[in-house]
Structures are given as C-alpha cells and as structure tokens.
C-alpha cells in the first residue's frame, strides 16, 4: 500500500487505480501516517516551510467548534463516500498541478500571462461580443444628406409634418467646424 501511495503522490497512477490508496488513507491509520510522512519528505526536499506538529488536529478541532447555521452537522462520513468525493477533486488538483508545472517549464522567459485552456484554442472562433461603444465622430454635411433621405420615411412626419426636417438642414456642422 505504501508504494501505491507514493506512486499516487508522484502522479504515476491511472485514474481508475486511485480509489484503493485514497480509501486506505481515509480508513487506515498507518496509510495516513505514510501519506503524511511522504509529504513531509517531499516538502523537506523542496525546502517548503514545515507546519508545526499537530496542525491537522488543531484545524479539525477549530472546525468542530465552528457554529453550524443552516445545515445539520453530518454524521461520521463513510470512507467510500469520502473517497468517491475525493477522487475527482484529487484528479483535478493533480491535473492542475501538472498543467501549471508544464506551463512553467514551457514558458520560462515570458512574462506571466493568463494560461489559456488548450480546448478553447482548438475550438472554431466564436462571434466576438461587442463590449465597447464605437468611437464618437462629428456630424458632417454628408451625414445630413443621410438624415434627410431617412426623414422622408419616418412616421414622425405624420405627427409633426415637415418640422423634423429641421435636423437635416441644421447649422450644427458649420458650428463644429469653427
């Protein structure tokens, strides 16, 4: 079992083989000790700062003291259930770790950028959603020709007669040129 736990930590196990060591860690005290020891070794090798002794126990105690507001406290969780919950997240975590390490290795010189999921890159380009407003441009004499041509077909005429045409002969453009 110890070799399996070690292999799992190194990312050498296939997804379907993760269940057994994970259940063991949940159920077996010795397996849990091995898990903790291997992490201690790997942290020491990488020079990671060590957590003080009994940190996990103290965190558990603090969690137990937290008031539960909405949901009732769950009873003791059965090992297989927790294992089922644990597998996908462990997988995701290890995948994320591998991706991150790979990204670091492949882009040593570049400034950090947001990693783009390879899936997104292989998809066909989707329609760009316009967020910004187009630039504001001044009204020109030529624009007034369009406004006049449009005005002929505006239902506003039937309420206001010729009055809306004032827009298409406005002096506005000359004023802006000055």
């Amino acid at each position: 079992m110890k070799s399996k736990i070690s292999a799992m930590m190194d990312g050498e196990l296939e997804a379907q083989d993760l269940g057994e060591p994970l259940s063991a860690i949940g159920a077996d005290r010795e397996a849990r000790e091995s898990w903790r020891t291997y992490h201690l070794i790997s942290d020491a090798l990488r020079g990671e700062p060590l957590l003080t002794h009994g940190c996990a126990r103290r965190v558990s105690q603090r969690l137990a003291q937290e008031p539960t507001l909405v949901a009732p406290l769950p009873g003791p969780v059965a090992a297989p259930q927790s294992a089922r919950w644990f597998v996908p997240s462990a997988l995701a975590a290890s995948l994320a770790a591998v991706t991150f390490v790979g990204w670091l290795a492949l882009t040593p010189q570049r400034a950090p950028v947001l990693a783009v999921a390879p899936v997104a890159q292989s998809q066909p380009p989707t329609q760009v959603v316009r967020v910004a407003e187009p630039p504001r441009v001044p009204l020109t004499r030529a624009t007034q020709d369009y406004i006049r041509a449009h005005q002929t077909y505006s239902p506003r005429n039937s309420l206001q007669g010729v009055a809306p045409y004032v827009r298409s002969v406005s002096d506005e453009t000359e004023q802006r040129k000055k």
């Binding site: 316009r130 407003e133 187009p134 630039p135 504001r136 441009v137 001044p138 009204l139 020109t140 004499r141 030529a142 624009t143 007034q144 020709d145 369009y146 406004i147 006049r148 041509a149 449009h150 005005q151 002929t152 077909y153 505006s154 239902p155 506003r156 005429n157 039937s158 309420l159 206001q160 007669g161 010729v162 009055a163 809306p164 045409y165 004032v166 827009r167 298409s168 002969v169 406005s170 002096d171 506005e172 000359e174 004023q175």
Partner: protein, 319 residues
C-alpha cells in the same frame, strides 16, 4: 420559492404594463395625425437638442386632397424645406444647392391610422398626462413610454380644440430629453398661397435629384435584419445622394421610430468618412465598412439600437 414569486410579480407587472394603453390616449394620437394632415397654419417653433436651440417658421396650406408645407430656419443661413405630397425640396444657400427627394410610392409613407396606433401600444405604453397651456393653446399631454430600451420615449402636447401638436419631447431611458420641438407662436387658419413660395432665388443653383427606384439588395448579396422586436422592413430602394453613385436604402420601422440602412461602394469616393457614431437630437448615425462598402445607419432610436441593426449587415457575393 422566491424565484417563483419573482416570476409571478414580473408577470403581473407585464400584465399591468400591457394594459397601459388608454383608448383615450390612442384616440388623441389619431387626432394629432388628422390635425397634421388637415390644418392650415403658420407658426414659429424652437428645436432644442443638447445645448443648442434653433428657431424656425412653419407654414402649412391645406388644399383639396393635398397640402404644401414650408420650413424656414430663422437662425443662421436661411435654409428652407418645401414639402408636398409627392416631393421634398431642400434649399441650401451655403452650397447653392436644391436637394430634391421625390416620393415614389405614397403608400409606403407611414400614416398613423387607428390600426397602426393600436399596434404602437405593443411597444409603447400610451397614456394621458397633464393638461397645460403652450403658446396660448390649452394642450393635452400624451406619453408614449417605451416598453424596452430599444426605443426612445415621447411626450406630446396637442391643442385640445384642434389636435394640433404644439410640443414634442423625445426622452431616453433615464428620462433625459434628447430633443424637443416647441411652438412659441401659432396661428391656425387659412394661409395665402404666396406664403408657401421659397424665398431662395434658386434658378442658378445646382439641383440634386434623389432618383429613387425600387431595389432588391438581397439579390445583390446583402443581408441584414432589423434584429429589434417590432421593427419591420418598410421600403427598399436605390437612390442618389449628392454623388453619382446609387446608394441602397432599406427602412425599418416600429410604427413611430424608423431606422434606415444605406449601403454604397467605397471605391471612387474622394474621402472615407469617419467610422463610428454621430448624433443629432434623437437621430443617431452609425457608420461602418462592410466588404469595401460604406454602411450608414440612421435612426430615431438609441445609439445601441441603431448600431445593432448596422452590425447585422453582411455581404456574400451572389452565386
């Protein structure tokens, strides 16, 4: 539970909103339309948009079965617009030009008949508002509040006696005025014919004819959609706009607001106009380039609506 309750409240609200089209207010819209068609009058009105105001004089003479209307801008250079049933002539002294737009199919010209007014209430909550005196006339206010953000709202003040529109205000979704027409003086009654003649001595001026002909832009490879609920295609034509090259024009309307899409080749133009958004009161103009053509969208609608229609324009060479 909360969500269900929210949905229920929304439904109830929508129901109330839909019920908000008072028959009396709809009648008033029709009355305004009839007054615009039938009355003879002369008056002075102020057009306000942004921080600018411009004063103009309007003269209208109704004759049997037709009418002539004249608009003279009183500030700045004396520009004039003459409108008859078949034609609109703009006299522009600065450029010594007369721009002529002949109406091709009078049926495509929108009229606010009772049926159309009824349809309007699908997109606007049409209600009665206060009564107020404007330019010496007791007026009834009618509000057309848009049911979505795609349109502007309008408040209209009409003479209680004749239905003549004395004031019109267009407002945006925040309730801010985007433009306003207000008569400051108005006399309703017979107008002598000579008052309708243009002042401009335009014999030597250049005349630009719009030369409107029906068109099918889809056949030429152009696709576009109104994309906005309630905006339907009203007319599709080709026309001339100052330059020799014909310009395609498609008009969409919801019965009160209209948006025109103009398409013309960019090749051969002396200069490319700036691409983007411009505005004149309640009119927004959106310009973009599609397949080496200039697409200009002009509409009495919020900039986002005008842009949305403009962004649907695309070209695929016909097979």
């Amino acid at each position: 539970m909360t969500r269900a309750l929210g949905a229920l409240v929304l439904c109830a609200f929508a129901g109330v909103a839909h019920a908000q089209a008072s028959p009396e207010a709809l009648d008033w819209l029709h009355r305004i339309y009839l007054a615009t068609e039938k009355l003879s009058y002369t008056g002075t009105f102020v057009y306000q948009q942004g921080d600018r105001t411009e004063t103009s004089r309007i003269t209208r003479r109704a004759e049997a079965g037709s009418a002539v209307e004249k608009l003279e801008v009183l500030d700045g250079s004396p520009r004039e617009v003459l409108r008859t049933r078949d034609e609109v002539r703009c006299y522009l002294p600065d450029s010594q030009t007369v721009k002529v737009d002949r109406r091709r199919d009078p049926r495509s010209f929108p009229a606010l008949l009772p049926a159309q007014v009824q349809e309007l209430s699908e997109f606007y909550a049409i209600t009665m508002d206060e009564t107020r005196r404007i330019a010496g006339y007791d007026c009834q206010a009618i509000v057309l509040a848009p049911r979505d953000e795609l349109r502007y709202g309008y408040k209209l003040w009409a003479d209680v006696q004749t239905g003549m529109l004395l004031k019109a205000r267009a407002f945006n979704r925040s309730g801010e005025t985007v433009e306003q027409f207000t008569f400051t003086q108005l006399s309703i009654g017979p107008v002598p014919r000579e008052r309708l003649r243009p002042r401009a001595v335009a014999r030597s001026w250049r005349v630009e004819q719009a030369a409107v002909t029906p068109a099918n832009l889809a056949q030429a490879g152009w696709t576009m959609s109104s994309d906005l609920p309630g905006f339907r295609k009203v007319i599709e034509i080709t026309r001339l706009l100052r330059e020799a090259q014909p310009v395609g024009q498609v008009v969409f309307s919801d019965g009160l607001a209209a948006v025109s899409v103009f398409i013309e080749p960019l090749a051969g133009r002396a200069e490319t106009p700036p691409m983007g958004l411009a505005s004149m009161g309640a009119v927004n103009v959106y310009t973009r380039e599609v397949a080496n053509h200039l697409v200009t969208v002009v509409g009495e609608a919020p900039a986002a609506s005008v842009q949305r229609i403009g962004d649907t324009v695309s070209f695929r060479p016909p097979q």
